[in-house]
């Protein structure tokens, strides 16, 4: 595999390939989607993501619980769960600080659905994971650091 890569570089097409990669990277997720919050999912930093979600200054809350392992051996499959004890929770989002795009997923909860979701996420490296919860017009947050020993982003 490495030899092949070296060959590509040697033949001088490397620059062209890299250019194509950059272009593909920029364009790839940009396929038009009706409801999908493109700005939030494509935002790179935590601050930009929070802004795109409309969450200004989320308050840390003990009523929001983020569950997950302290150490994840495989960053490609990290089980995380979010529960919120705040009445009227309507949205839960999972953000991973050091991933290429911070937002992993968001869940809108209609009335009658409990603020308790579990899923599995990918993590590129050890990072703080945030659970963002919306109740009424306010945002609340919980944080947990998950250490990753093997990255999940193809590294």
């Amino acid at each position: 595999m490495n030899k092949q890569r070296r060959n590509v570089l040697k033949t001088g097409t490397g620059a062209a390939v890299l250019g194509a990669l950059a272009a593909a990277g920029l364009i790839a997720p940009g396929i038009a989607l009706a409801d999908w919050n493109k700005a939030a999912f494509e935002a790179k930093s935590m601050a930009d993501t929070l802004k795109a979600l409309g969450a200004t200054q989320p308050a840390d809350s003990k009523d929001v619980q983020l569950t997950g392992p302290d150490i994840a051996e495989n960053g490609a499959v990290v089980p995380v769960g979010v529960t919120s004890a705040i009445a009227g929770t309507t949205m839960i989002a999972i953000l991973i600080d050091k991933n290429p795009n911070a937002l992993a997923g968001s869940f809108k909860l209609p009335e009658g659905t409990e603020a308790n979701v579990q899923t599995r996420v990918k993590m590129g490296q050890t990072s703080n994971v945030y659970a963002l919860v919306k109740a009424g017009d306010k945002f609340y947050m919980a944080t947990k650091e998950i250490k990753v020993t093997l990255g999940g982003c193809g590294g």
Partner: protein, 104 residues
């Protein structure tokens, strides 16, 4: 491209239905490269909704950081044995799939 069926389990206990779903999907991030160094294009689920007897119980948006073959568990109030829980998803290539299961 044909998509594979999801595995959905739903069980009601004390008036609360817990739904667990395992969805078959590549969830390619668009960050990985193949053996030739070419980027594998992103291919992931963007939207997922769940309904109980036709009523929306969860609507979610996924990014590329959700793991391959996503797992999802959530709970909603109500539901009775035999009721239908349906989950549908849509990915960034415009493919979609809906599967349903009866509450046990």
């Amino acid at each position: 491209m044909a998509t594979k069926p999801m595995r959905i389990r739903a069980a009601v206990k004390d008036g609360v239905t817990e739904v667990k779903a395992l969805i078959a999907h590549e969830m390619e991030t668009g960050q990985r490269k193949d053996a030739n160094g070419a980027v594998i294009p992103a291919w992931f689920i963007t939207e997922l909704t769940a309904t109980h007897n036709g009523k929306l119980v969860l609507s979610s948006e996924f990014g590329t950081a959700i793991s391959k073959n996503p797992y999802l568990a959530f709970r909603f109030k109500g539901g009775a044995a035999g009721d239908k829980v349906a989950i549908s998803w849509k990915d960034n290539k415009g493919e979609s799939r809906t599967d349903e299961a009866a509450i046990a």
